[in-house]
């Protein structure tokens, strides 16, 4: 139940700018999808919000700037799931999810019984309870993705950042992961920002889309407004047609043969 504000947020690597000043407000419980071609600055924006790269401007959760917080304070407010998280094969599922409690453990401390209970409870909630003792190396791709989300949930942060949460999954597991995130959002009112490549899924699951290109916002709004064939052709250099489902208004992006105009 928290509001995430980006105020003139800029990211650059050396002299190369990755994100031009970006301003947006993600309301409490809202799911913002960030789309755009490779290198458009989606990941950089998420990494800035997770405190992994320096940034100009201000990123604030509930009015408190992240820049002034300690690493632990920030981690208790913002959870982050990387695009390709490093998953140690020889770590148990339970221990991995328990790492999500790190922001709440003192420097020389150890996890409390409460921390262990929260981790166990998250595993049960995601249907992973029976896997608690399994090694991560023995899990399938879809199971691992759920474990990674479980770790982020154990963090109990009101803001969840997801970088390409479904890029490594087949179409069924993509849908399952996104449905899972939708359910969690409803039950816990988590504010979500996710970078996504699949435009149809992005339009279907998120509340609002922001399209980035070369670090700058080219469009922002509902899927129907942002995902137009003409704009996708310009930004992605792709030939697509965009259909609107007459029943539920879902925006469907269909790649077509041919070269973009």
């Amino acid at each position: 139940m928290s509001e995430l504000i980006f105020d003139e947020v800029a990211v650059s690597y050396g002299k190369r700018p990755a994100v031009a000043p970006f301003t947006d407000g993600v309301g409490s419980g809202e799911w913002l999808g960030i789309i755009g071609p490779n290198g458009a600055g989606k990941s950089s924006l998420l990494r800035a919000a997770a405190g992994l790269v320096g940034h100009g401007g201000t990123i604030a959760v509930d009015g408190v700037s992240l820049a002034g917080m300690s690493d632990r304070d920030r981690a208790s407010r913002v959870a982050y799931v990387a695009q390709n998280p490093l998953i140690p094969d020889d770590m148990s599922v339970f221990d991995y999810v328990l790492l999500g409690r790190t922001p709440y453990v003192g420097y020389f401390g150890t996890e409390s019984t409460l921390d262990r209970e929260i981790a166990a409870e998250v595993l049960d909630r995601l249907g992973l309870g029976e896997f608690a003792g399994r090694m991560l190396g023995t899990m399938s791709g879809g199971e691992r993705q759920r474990v990674v989300i479980a770790r982020a949930l154990a963090q109990e942060a009101p803001v969840l950042l997801l970088d390409e949460p479904t890029s490594a999954l087949d179409i069924g597991h993509q849908q399952q992961a996104l449905e899972l995130i939708t359910e969690l959002r409803r039950h816990q009112h988590i504010t979500i920002v996710s970078a996504m490549h699949d435009l149809t899924l992005a339009g279907t699951y998120t509340d609002r889309l922001v399209m980035l290109s070369d670090g700058a916002v080219v469009a922002s709004g509902s899927a129907r407004d942002v995902l137009t064939a003409e704009r996708l052709g310009e930004v992605f250099h792709v030939c697509v047609s965009v259909d609107i489902d007459p029943d539920d208004g879902t925006v469907i992006v269909v790649p077509r043969r041919g070269f973009p105009v």
């Binding site: 690493d71 140690p88 770590m91 401390g109 595993l123 049960d124 995601l126």
Partner: protein, 363 residues
């Protein structure tokens, strides 16, 4: 998919996980105790071996047993063997804990405690001390060789760190890249080793002495050696023990660790400094004992699991035991001459490690 049901009672109770740990700690402590007794009992001179454990018991408070060990024999056990055994324990435990910690912060299984230049620096320091006015320094009450080795070991690692930090972290400002540091270590080690070789080349009369120093030895160890390095080893191991949970967080990567609220750069510096101080201290009295810091942590991972919470204390216990045992053939094989301990550790350790690799599954 309806996996989210709020009123679902947790079927998995938060497992304490302590029972497995306790079992391993008991085994480790027992093995260490047996190693110490065995190490004190075996030697080319002195009382019959079976009498030594009895004599050790006899010297415990409140216990009096007639062991039949004369005072002269007891002096051999207590003044010659025991300091050597305890020194072996300190060196073996320290190198193993440092190796495990280095492997953790750099997430690199091939890393050993000498990676950032502790060994090369110590070698250069010892070479300088052995080639500079040795006729005069030989008679000093404090031998300058370990001191020089220690100082140069620390200096070399500091140079590596400065070089590595000046290259990485220019964009993010956090100096997070462990790989840069490892590569800086490779360069600095090459440079320092070249300096050492150059000095040796011009002082060929001490080549033998330096070579023996490099091979590592525990012979001639005294209680004063033990007292000399104990504070460093104790502080270093304590700091590393207190950071075992951080090492587990490092396993998921620097980015994830940072997102979980760990100050990656700062924590890494603390761990590296602690591991380096301990390594430099033990290297300065025992020379370069290869293999222990690399292989003991891996052997424990294969037997007891990869979590650092268990790995660090077990590395201390089993590393100590391993070096005590490995030191026994060294003093017996070609008695009264000594086989260098570095040779024995590799000779014993390599086949054992290959056996482990073959019999245990590597995920």
């Amino acid at each position: 998919m309806t996996v989210v049901t709020a009123d679902d009672a947790p079927s998995t109770r938060a497992r304490a996980g302590g029972a497995g740990d306790a079992r391993w700690y008991v085994i480790g402590a027992a093995v260490l105790l047996v190693s110490i007794v065995v190490g004190a009992s075996i030697g080319p001179a002195g009382p019959e071996s079976w009498r030594v454990p009895v004599a050790l018991l006899d010297h415990l408070p409140l216990i009096a047993i007639d062991s039949g060990v004369t005072q002269a024999e007891w002096n051999i056990v207590w003044r010659i063997r025991m300091p050597r055994v305890i020194l072996a324990a300190l060196v073996g435990g320290m190198l193993s804990v440092a190796g495990a910690s280095y492997q953790g912060v750099f997430r690199n299984p091939l890393v050993d405690p000498y990676l950032l230049g502790a060994a090369a620096g110590a070698g250069l320091g010892a070479t300088l001390a052995l080639t500079t006015g040795r006729n005069v320094t030989m008679s000093w009450s404090v031998d300058p060789v370990p001191t020089a080795a220690f100082v140069f070991a620390v200096l070399t690692v500091a140079v590596t760190y400065l070089v590595g930090a000046s290259f990485s972290g220019s964009s993010s400002g956090s100096g997070r890249s462990g790989v840069t540091l490892v590569l800086a270590g490779v360069a600095v080690v090459a440079f320092v080793t070249a300096m050492q070789t150059f000095i040796l080349q011009r002082n060929q009369d001490v080549v033998r002495e330096v070579y023996q120093w490099i091979l590592g030895r525990l012979s001639g160890a005294t209680w004063s050696d033990v007292v000399l390095i104990f504070p460093y080893v104790a502080v270093s191991c304590l700091v590393l023990m207190l950071h075992r949970r951080h090492l587990d967080v490092f396993r998921v990567g620097d980015d994830e660790a940072a997102a979980l609220g760990v100050s990656v750069g700062r924590t890494r510096v603390v761990i590296v400094i602690a591991a380096t101080l301990g390594t430099a201290a033990v290297v300065s009295v025992s020379g370069l004992i290869a293999f222990v810091g690399l292989v003991i942590p891996h052997a424990i991972r294969l037997m007891a699991g990869a979590g650092y919470r268990r790995l660090i204390p077990l590395s201390l216990l089993f590393g100590a035991s391993f070096l005590i045992i490995a030191d026994i053939p060294g003093r017996m094989l070609s008695s009264p001459a000594e086989t260098p301990i570095g040779v024995v550790t590799a000779f014993l350790g390599a086949p054992f490690f290959i056996y482990l690799l073959r019999t245990r599954r590597i995920v």
